[in-house]
């Protein structure tokens, strides 16, 4: 890899991480760094129900700011992360979690990508084998290659 390319890759990767933590919509700070860390983590893993593909940390809409206030107040009241998540799910359902829990209803969300991956590997292997066999059979037939057939 050329030096310029690896530099570009490094920039791209660091930008990716920058965007993960930037939350320009939120200005209120938590009283301690520990609480701030937990607040940042929680608000980044809760979905904004109005905008759906943003976390409540990233969304400027009113409901997201209300939910951030709720998280902030619960943290200051001494609730654990799990208690706060449970309270959110009780009101908005599992959909509010970007990382849904593994249950019978949500199992397919977790399993489907792996099933598709296995299916993809299976199909690829089949196609590659088939092609290999075609090349072999082509090679064994001199007439075919003489006509400028499929083998290269």
């Amino acid at each position: 890899m050329s030096r310029r390319l690896s530099f570009a890759a490094a920039v791209a990767v660091s930008m990716m991480f920058m965007s993960l933590r930037a939350s320009p919509v939120d200005v209120e700070a938590m009283p301690t760094p520990g609480l701030q860390q937990r607040y940042d983590d929680l608000t980044h893993e809760l979905r904004c129900m109005q905008c759906q593909n943003q976390s409540i940390a990233d969304s400027p809409v009113g409901l997201a700011s209300d939910l951030r206030r709720d998280v902030r107040e619960q943290l200051i009241a001494g609730k654990t992360d799990e208690e706060i998540r449970t309270a959110m799910v009780a009101r908005y359902g599992n959909f509010i979690l970007f990382r849904p829990p593994f249950r019978s209803g949500t199992a397919w969300v977790w399993i489907a990508p792996f099933l598709l991956l296995i299916l993809g590997v299976f199909v690829t292997v089949r196609i590659v084998r088939q092609r290999a066999r075609m090349v072999e059979s082509d090679a064994s037939e001199p007439d075919d290659s003489a006509e400028g057939g499929t083998s290269k």
């Binding site: 129900m49 009113g62 209300d66 009780a90 359902g93 959909f95």
Partner: protein
């Protein structure tokens, strides 16, 4: 034969997934309430008519009631208002309004101009009570039974059809108009 079996299966799988997606697409943005079958959250809010008077969930216990979350900033609420007026005219069940994150004067003006379908309007200025109900976009309408259990939630503008099918049908028979 097997040449067509796997692509065929993949096609059927994909067709199935897309079919479900298309059939459910009208409901794509309306999630089932997490509160269904659970007790409605308790609340204690000032009323729009008189901030000194409060409306609480305890006052509503013992009979079915309907909660409609609205705001003057909400376009769909304007759309459903006529339907709410017609529903209120049936007097089948008390309708409680949550005026969600709204301006009191604007809300009063709205009800004066368009009519007031609510038996009582609670002012949820900071949105806390609505969050407890899992509200994510106005208008939302809930049916709460006589035991205080949330039986149904409709997201979006109310229609007479939905009202008949999902709300009136949940009322005890003798209460039907």
């Amino acid at each position: 034969m097997t040449r067509f079996l796997i692509p065929g299966l993949i096609f059927l799988l994909l067709a199935g997934v897309l079919y479900v997606g298309v059939v459910q697409s009208p409901n794509k943005s309306t999630m089932q309430s997490a509160l269904l079958g659970k007790p409605a959250p308790a609340f204690d809010l000032p009323t729009l008519d008189d901030p000194a008077t409060r409306i609480t969930s305890a006052q509503l216990a013992g009979r079915p009631w309907v909660l409609n979350v609205w705001g003057t900033w909400c376009v769909e609420c304007r759309v459903e208002h006529e339907v709410l007026m017609e529903i209120a005219g049936q007097r089948a069940v008390p309708i409680v309004g949550f005026d969600w994150k709204d301006d009191d004067d604007a809300a009063k003006e709205w009800l004066r101009q368009l009519g007031n379908p609510y038996d009582v309007v609670a002012v949820d200025k900071d949105g806390r009570a609505s969050i407890e109900f899992g509200v994510y976009g106005a208008p939302e309408t809930f049916f709460i039974d006589a035991h205080g259990i949330v039986q149904y939630r409709h997201v979006g503008a109310m229609t007479l059809d939905i009202w008949r099918r999902e709300f009136l049908s949940r009322l005890p028979k003798q209460a039907l108009p």
